[in-house]
Symmetry: C2
Subunit: 356 residues, 2 copies
């Protein structure tokens, strides 16, 4: 074959897709009938349906989702706005959303909020809003919190938030994990092992103000009458934990450390190891999240398990309820964390002496 192919589009590599009109011609019916067939409309004569289906198959017809969305107004799509897609918690929430979305034949898009800069956030929110469908914003950090607040009022949106008190999204639906309770439990666990107090290495918080985890930790200390050390501000990732750990290792008084997540805890443990302090012999360490590898570290990590994928599924279910009249809108779901005690936390060693 030579010559210009009228089926090529501008970029010259994609043949114009076959439309319902092409199918209609091939099947000898009107294109409305084709529409009925692909929409499983009941009132189509079986023999007609057969012919149309055969034509669809032969021509390799695929319904154009863009045209469907434009004509019908329904888009069956959700865009997830998040500051990160790789950290365990974020990635797991995204996974949960995707699972639930796939089960309902929703397409899922992602938009990453690279900075908390107002203009950058606004740009990302606009891009996400441009994509038709609903929005889920993971508002665990400053970019996410700002994005949730910046979502236009007329857009269906669900927030995944750190704490439900005065959620930044106003009266919009949200899902959350009870981080305050989780930190409270973890701190009580460490105190119950005889430690005089518990130090805290914080993850970058959702706000300037105190995070839910910090609040829970503080509450447990207060109730126990334990002194409240200054929280160490950690960065994301093991490197941040390592830096914080080196700092804490200088203080021989430190015997228990709660970390904002498992990656931080892993870095802290490494720092303690490097400075010759045994875990849990000299210092007990606990994390947050129960990442897949945490059970296989040496020492295995005491942590608080969070059901992030379940949280993601809930977020989608909520959005789905908002988008489709049929699906009921559930109340704001909460994921209840579960303490998992492992090797990295142990009884405080009697002051002064090393065991034989």
């Amino acid at each position: 074959m030579t010559g210009h192919n009228p089926g090529m589009n501008v970029t010259g590599h994609t043949r114009r897709s076959v439309s319902i009109r092409d199918v209609a011609t091939a099947a000898g019916v009107s294109y409305q009938t084709v529409s009925r067939v692909i929409n499983d409309h009941p009132s189509v004569k079986p023999s007609t349906r057969e012919r149309v289906l055969a034509a669809i198959d032969e021509l390799g017809f695929r319904r154009n989702a863009t045209a469907l969305a434009l004509a019908s107004g329904r888009s069956r799509a959700v865009t997830v706005l998040t500051a990160n897609t790789t950290h365990y918690g974020y990635a797991s929430i995204l996974q949960g959303i995707e699972e639930a979305a796939r089960a309902e034949s929703y397409a899922v898009g992602i938009g990453v909020l690279e900075s908390a800069d107002e203009a950058a956030v606004a740009t990302e929110v606009r891009r996400a809003a441009d994509a038709s469908g609903g929005l889920i914003v993971i508002a665990y950090d400053p970019p996410g919190v700002k994005a949730l607040a910046a979502v236009p009022a007329d857009l269906p949106v669900v927030g995944v938030v750190e704490t439900p008190t005065s959620p930044p999204g106003g009266d919009r639906p949200w899902v959350w994990t009870d981080d305050r309770e989780a930190a409270y439990e973890a701190t009580r666990h460490l105190l119950s092992l005889g430690h005089e107090t518990v130090h805290y290495v914080a993850i970058p918080s959702s706000t300037r103000r105190t995070s839910a985890r910090t609040t829970g930790w503080r509450q447990a200390l207060k109730e126990a009458g334990a002194p409240e050390p200054r929280p160490v501000q950690g960065r994301w990732g093991p490197a941040g934990g390592h830096a914080a750990g080196l700092k804490l290792a200088q203080d021989p008084q430190v015997t228990a450390i709660l970390c904002g997540n498992d990656d931080l805890a892993l870095g802290v443990i490494r720092a303690l190891h490097e400075t010759g302090r045994a875990v849990p012999g000299d210092v007990s360490v606990a994390g947050f999240d129960d990442a897949p590898h945490s059970a296989y570290l040496t020492p295995s990590l005491t942590t608080v398990r969070m059901d992030f994928t379940g949280l993601g599924r809930s977020a989608f279910a909520l959005l789905h309820g908002v988008l489709e009249e049929s699906a009921p809108v559930a109340p704001h779901p909460v994921s209840v964390p579960e303490l998992v005690a492992r090797e990295s936390s142990g009884r405080r060693r009697p002051a002064g002496g090393r065991p034989a």
Copy 2:
């Protein structure tokens, strides 16, 4: 306000968005002129542009991306088809794609291939094809390989493949990491430390046949004249490594283990620890990927660093070149892995004796 709001859509919560016609009316121009303004067309009188911009601002106009896509035929969207979104390598590739896509104002969608079942794969591919735009398929595993093969011929697609020899995508563009070379280097590293041979714990492979990593490992053994033990088939994740490690720990001859990824290596190390074998004292262990925490484990993990985000960026660049005539289509890029020797690998201890 009471009564029915004609601006509400079926679901009753979203006001019909303002269109270019609304803007045109408000600005006292035709809607074509509005189209010119939002497309930065040069031939618009400055004063007209001002008025239109003002109307856009006042009415809160947002251009409907669906209509844009349908009318123009360009969609500026990419869908990533992958078996997984959370494992380090996959998540990092996705991150790289997203970064590059965002820089070009492309929307990114994800579709997860939950099983290698033909029908399930076909369904996911169809869904991805329905979303307009290009496709990137991560073909590191059976579902991905099958998906890449099932992509309709008329769709712009880039494959992220394990090995470039007879890629499953035929003559389609692809990107790859040189896994064979990576495994070769890692194996040579372990052999150079005096180990008689190197055992291998494999990740689930892309095919029934031998993976590139297995090939590289085997090649290094052969060149060195080392005996070739049977590879241990691992599952994904630390649990798989742990199971494999327990098995290998039973054989006192085992002094060096190469693992298909860092998570597997972490599990193997844990298993060796549990069975009283020191790393690297008794057994050297190396992984693949250089995950963020690998440098902070104790012992820190010898591994092969792979530039997955760079690979993702390359994949997008390639697709971008295919989609837009202006962007040049680069040749199949390869990411060159880099060996990172850390604490988990060491010289083989002289046979028979434990050091004092």
